[in-house]
């Protein structure tokens, strides 16, 4: 193979991956997800959760509250680091702070929705449940190891976490309707996927267009790739339109709403509707299949529009739109670049490599997943297409989960930022624990996927927990002794 064909193949592989992502996965799940994240940032007052993170809150409440804060408030790094530092220095201490730090990148709303949409709901749920258990576990361990440091902080005041906050009912309803918009577009239940009406648009040539697209961007369904359909190409065009109109309407939103703001919102709605219907081109024209999804999306959009226009204050609307746009602007370009590069890499990596290294649910395979996660730094959410690439190359779901747990938690960049706040020793201890826990998470989940009985899996889990609590007891006793001798 000469170098030119090689490069062209590489380019095609990247483009094909990008196009099929844009057309198939991203729209119905990611577009509403960005708006949900925006609504959460703008409409949930932080005080509703942070008041449970003060120093005097019982541990039984502060740990779950820290996880909740990670999931609800911390989609953006603007909140993660300051809130982490606040909880650590002025609030509930290092334990809940670590829980928060662990939970935020792994189980925030964008990451979960995207994992569920691209790789599978089972992995998204595993990511959520294991992150919750391990986040709290690592938090408690860190609190026990470094308890002496926390005593010093006790002298600081707690006033920062005393503020009360209440979410407006209408804001809560708005958020719930956004979630139902997402669900009605993505859930695969009969009520939503059944076709209730169909009509034909007499445009000729759509079938030729689709064949042309299949030829232009070849795909291999055996590898799990998807081709770009005529519908997909319409969606890509609409996405570009959203980008352009949002740029005009959202960038200057602090100077007031303008025509572009509403245009871009209308196009977002239109895009979701187009994505919901079924389209099948044939020689006579284009069949449009009106399914349950379409009605679900339509109703949700109507309610959202009504609340947005009449119930939310201007400040709320502006904050909501700005935060959503900010997420789109920040994450989408990175995601597009990431998906493109992943597509090129796919053409280079031999499936045999992955299969030998992590094709089975072994300790080595899981460790490999974790090590790769720690040393590679990918922007937010890009870990998901990368994980999907590994999956299609034959990686076992166990090591895959280990990778998915370790990658967003640990990167050199985040370790450096945390260590300016809690110091190097504590940061590296945290890193070691996350690596250990991620490996175990992969092993346990992998065993479950391989069909190990529930009894065996819970035996593994309880043995591990017994070992852990034994060790904690030991560390704790030594600390107490040390304090006693110091006195």
């Amino acid at each position: 193979m000469n170098i030119l064909t090689f490069l062209t193949n590489l380019l095609y592989s990247g483009l094909g991956n990008l196009a099929s992502y844009l057309a198939a996965h991203v729209l119905l799940c990611l577009l509403p997800a960005f708006y949900i994240a925006g609504a959460m940032t703008a409409l949930i007052p932080k005080e509703t959760v942070t008041r449970f993170l003060g120093r005097n809150t019982p541990k039984l409440i502060s740990y779950p509250a820290a996880a909740l804060a990670g999931s609800l408030l911390a989609v953006c790094s603007c909140t993660i680091v300051p809130l982490f530092a606040g909880i650590y220095k002025k609030g509930a201490g290092i334990g809940p702070a670590i829980t928060f730090l662990f939970f935020a990148p792994a189980a925030n709303i964008l990451a979960l929705i995207y994992t569920g949409g691209v790789i599978g709901v089972d992995l998204a749920i595993a990511r959520l449940v294991l992150s919750l258990a391990f986040g709290i576990g690592i938090g408690i361990i860190m609190a026990l190891i470094f308890r002496s440091g926390d005593v010093e902080h006790d002298k600081a005041t707690d006033a920062m976490f005393a503020a009360q906050g209440k979410m407006r009912h209408v804001a809560l309803i708005f958020l719930l309707v956004l979630v139902s918009l997402l669900l009605s577009g993505t859930l695969k239940v009969g009520l939503l996927t059944n076709t209730y009406a169909a009509f034909t648009v007499p445009i000729s040539g759509m079938d030729k267009f689709q064949d042309f697209l299949y030829n232009l961007i070849p795909y291999d369904s055996a590898k799990g790739e998807e081709g770009v359909t005529a519908q997909g190409s319409i969606l890509i065009a609409l996405l570009v339109l959203i980008g352009v109109t949002s740029w005009k309407g959202m960038e200057s939103i602090f100077d007031g709403f303008n025509v572009w703001t509403w245009t871009s919102l209308s196009i977002v709605g239109l895009t979701l509707l187009v994505a919901a219907v079924g389209m099948s081109p044939h020689s006579g024209g284009l069949d449009i299949l009106i399914n349950g999804k379409f009605f679900g999306v339509l109703i949700a959009l109507a309610i959202l529009g009504w609340i947005l226009k009449t119930k939310l204050t201007e400040d709320e609307t502006r904050d909501f739109l700005w935060e959503s746009w900010k997420f789109i602007k920040q994450i989408f370009p990175l995601l597009i670049g990431g998906v493109f590069i992943v597509g090129m890499l796919r053409a280079l990596i031999q499936p045999e490599w992955i299969e030998t290294l992590a094709g089975q649910n072994t300790l080595l395979g899981n460790l490999a997943g974790v090590v790769f996660g720690v040393f590679m730094y990918f922007p937010t959410l890009v870990e998901v297409p990368i994980a999907q690439m590994f999956l299609s190359l034959g990686m076992h779901r166990g090591p895959l989960l280990a990778y998915l747990m370790a990658d967003p938690e640990l990167s050199l960049q985040s370790i450096l930022i945390i260590s300016t706040i809690i110091g190097r020793l504590k940061s590296w201890t945290y890193v070691a624990w996350v690596a250990l826990f991620s490996t175990l998470a992969g092993l346990i989940y992998g065993a479950w996927v391989d069909g190990a009985s529930v009894g065996l899996v819970s035996l593994y889990l309880s043995t591990f927990l017994a070992l852990l609590s034994g060790m904690l007891w030991f560390v704790n006793r030594r600390n107490v002794q040390k304090m006693a001798t110091a006195r």
Binding site: T50, L73, C76, C78, P82, K90, A159, F254, K326
Partner: protein, 83 residues
Amino acid sequence: MLTIKVLGSGCANCKKLEAVARQVTEQMGVQAEIIKVTEYPDIMAYNIMSTPGLVINEKVVSFGRIPSPAEITTWLANALEKT
């Protein structure tokens, strides 16, 4: 002369807030020095839980969101009265 501090490590919202603040001061025609505070220990000293934060004459007026130009105008006017 007012001192306006924008607290934030450089995320998108922090830059936006700085731009909005600058725009408001220019519109009002007030003399103000706008300082960006980017180091976390310095930001934490102001007891805020999320960035961006806006500080006028060492008093935190808002954090965790971008206030509207109207709000900033009011705060600046209040601060001017006190000085």
